[in-house]
Symmetry: C2
Subunit: 452 residues, 2 copies
């Protein structure tokens, strides 16, 4: 049995033998066996123990137990006490603020401290004692939460600097090892209660599964191995699909989202699965609607909490949802100071006669303006008199001629004087407000967009 | 609720409305609700009921219940009785012979009969009442048996002619529907016992999971949906990998296996996952060894029950395992009749002087042969005197010069006269037995290989 554990560590984690290793040790069965194994293998270890002081004397007893082992074997020992009963305690506060369970918060605090120790004390890796039963619990929890393949692979063996060398072994084998090597450990009372989801699974659901299906744990571990392989391939393939079917969607030369090639995806044998692979991480759930979008009308959209997917002719545009107001903004009553816009600033000033307007500014005859000046989104039916032209033109027609995309149109702001459009901001000025030989006061209006 | 069921069927299975449909109806909750739904939707249905006569009067009561519904609604009704108590009963015999449970055998018999009915009575589809709970049970069973992603996707909605329209719905929703529509059904006593694995899961393991993880069933269904998408992509990608990294391995112009390009696979970001995807269905389990094979010595092999994977320079050869004897075969004592070889026939006859040997035959001077003639595999150390040469040559050297592959060498048979090699069959004759001007009797020996 010992040979199995040691062989596994030697074969799969040779890098540990050239490293400084911090062990996370509670004093319970799993971490105590891990400590014995690492010490016997001659690894260069230190021991870190968190005391959450949740179980009074018992918690202190755990700390003393681990401390004693460390000092008895000349192993550096680090302890951190989290006083969760004190009213200002971080665990308590965090738990309340984040609406998470005490257990999850304790987990975060613990790993935060481990990270700090790795850094401050120069350790290369953190070893935790997670084993096959833990990983099965994670698998079942994620399965019940509607995860994808990633959630079913359970706990990873290596995750950044954290390494779990006991992952293929069951709790039973670890216990057998402890018994046959006369290793003492501390029973954690919280394990014996049903307070937590994991304990419920451990004491009720998993034993029931094991009653029905022989070697359930072993089978589930094998399933996880198979899924890890599948997951690796899928991740490589998804990357290939991304390169093949998507490109950045640029708006004013800035990446504003992702453009997805509909024809390309439809030429794939499993178009819906491709869409799922590409969009899955953006929180979409209405997959039937997304699939229908490919054949839908331009302008149709599907939303997730953070993103939207917009059909735009031959492509789907994936765009982050930005809180953008469509309200009108009053800018200036006559002689009033300038006001800020939600995404940019309109700035007006009296200008000299020889100045020329750039793309993000216009020069108008101030005497032709009427107040209030407002900035608003465009709407169907809007029309203006394009600079240099005699007649009026619908904005929709103008946008079409200029080949503006749906997204570009959405981003348009108009500067208006009363009901008249003075400027399609950053696009085209209206002819009616232009400077003429009769102009006495030129007004330079500049749009400083800070967001796009 | 009703709207949900009917909407689902209308939207996802429009083809059913133009088809003749056979319903598999036990009289239990699920199949009775399915029958009501299909009848109310105006589908063109017939009802098939299997009576396994396992529960005496109860079984007959089920049959009567279903028959009554059918006749009351003018629906064609088919019943098949399987008398499992009779000693010669097929179910019993099958179960024993195949070492399968009575339940699985009953399942096979049932589907066998359904297939027959579809054919004989001209039905287009078979509808069964499997629902989300059934699919979750399948998922858990496969998970505990170490399945890959395919096993985790549960029961398929459409599988050949079999269609399951209730698959997204839970048993609870089906029961609620029955209750709210005053639908009566027959309680199946076997459902109330723990006799079968599925019942154990239904009454113990799954309720325990649902106690711990809220909406476990719903979450698991969502997980299955995600996995189905992943599975589709993987199957497309695996096909692409096959095209990219494998080709048929030809031996004498016949496909003898698959050749896998090691360099190609090593250039992939996840070589082990690729090997897994390509070899997974051949029953291999020693994945570490397979992975090591890529860097291993030519000639190293890994075996599954049915196949072997052989390292051969820049490739891995996947080959079915054939029972091939390596024994020696005695052919002819002097004047004895010919005997058969395991994979081919050696045939000798006296020949005329003007005949010429082909690739699969030689002509020797009969007086030079000594007996017994044997056929055997070659071994290290064997040597012969190649036709037309003076000196001896090791067979290993000869094979190397001829650029024979490992597999080709394995397939070599030798015709020997006592300890002397007369002929490397189908390759090269030995010089010592050739015909000369002194030859009085020419012997033509032909090798008729019927297998490769």
């Amino acid at each position: 049995m010992k040979a199995h554990f040691e062989k596994h560590i030697r074969e799969h984690f040779p890098f540990l033998f050239k490293s400084k290793i911090l062990l996370a040790v509670s004093g319970g069965l799993d971490s105590t066996v891990l400590t014995h194994l690492c010490h016997n293998l001659g690894l260069d270890i230190g021991i870190a123990h968190c005391n959450f002081m949740l179980r009074g004397e018992e918690s202190d007893g755990d700390e003393a137990f681990v401390r004693e082992y460390a000092s008895g074997h000349n192993i550096p020992f680090y302890v951190k006490r989290f006083d969760t009963s004190a009213p200002a305690c971080r665990t308590g506060r965090f738990a309340k603020a984040n609406k998470t369970s005490t257990q999850i918060t304790a987990r975060n605090l613990r790993y935060e401290w481990f990270d700090h120790l790795l850094d401050a004390e120069g350790y290369d890796y953190l070893l935790t004692a997670h084993h096959a039963n833990d990983s099965l619990e994670t698998m079942l929890i994620n399965m019940g939460r509607g995860t994808g393949i990633d959630g079913l692979t359970g706990i990873p063996e290596v995750n950044g600097k954290t390494v779990r060398v006991l992952l293929p072994f069951s709790r039973k084998r670890i216990k057998d090892y402890a018994t046959s090597h006369n290793i003492a450990w501390r029973e954690d009372r919280s394990n014996a209660s049903d307070d937590y989801l994991r304990n419920h699974l451990r004491h009720h659901a998993i034993p029931a599964l094991e009653d029905g299906i022989s070697n359930f744990l072993q089978g589930a571990s094998k399933t996880q191995e198979h899924l890890k392989q599948a997951q690796q391939l899928l991740s490589v393939y998804t990357q290939e699909l991304k390169v093949k079917f998507t490109q950045p969607y640029l708006l004013n030369n800035v990446t504003a989202g992702v453009s997805i090639d509909i024809k390309g995806i439809q030429s794939h044998p499993a178009p819906e699965a491709v869409l799922y692979a590409l969009l899955n991480m953006y929180g979409f759930t209405a997959w039937d609607d997304i699939s229908a979008l490919m054949d839908g009308q331009t302008g149709k959209q599907v939303f997730s909490a953070t993103h939207r997917l917009l059909k735009d002719r031959t492509r789907l545009l994936l765009l982050p949802i930005q809180e953008e107001s469509t309200e009108a903004y009053f800018l200036w009553e006559e002689n009033e100071a300038q006001q800020e816009l939600p995404s940019g600033v309109l700035h007006k000033e009296i200008t000299k006669s020889d100045e020329v307007a750039g793309r993000n500014s216009i020069i108008v005859d101030e005497s032709l303006l009427h107040f209030p000046l407002t900035v608003r989104r465009w709407k169907e039916g809007d029309s203006f008199q394009p600079f240099g032209m005699d007649g009026r033109k619908k904005l929709s027609k103008y946008f079409k001629d200029e080949k503006l995309s749906l997204i570009e149109k959405e981003k348009i702001w108009l500067l208006c004087a009363g009901d008249d459009i003075v400027w399609i901001i950053n696009q085209r000025a209206d002819d009616r407000f232009k400077i003429t030989k009769n102009t006495t006061q030129r007004l330079l209006i500049t749009y400083n967009d800070t967001t796009h």
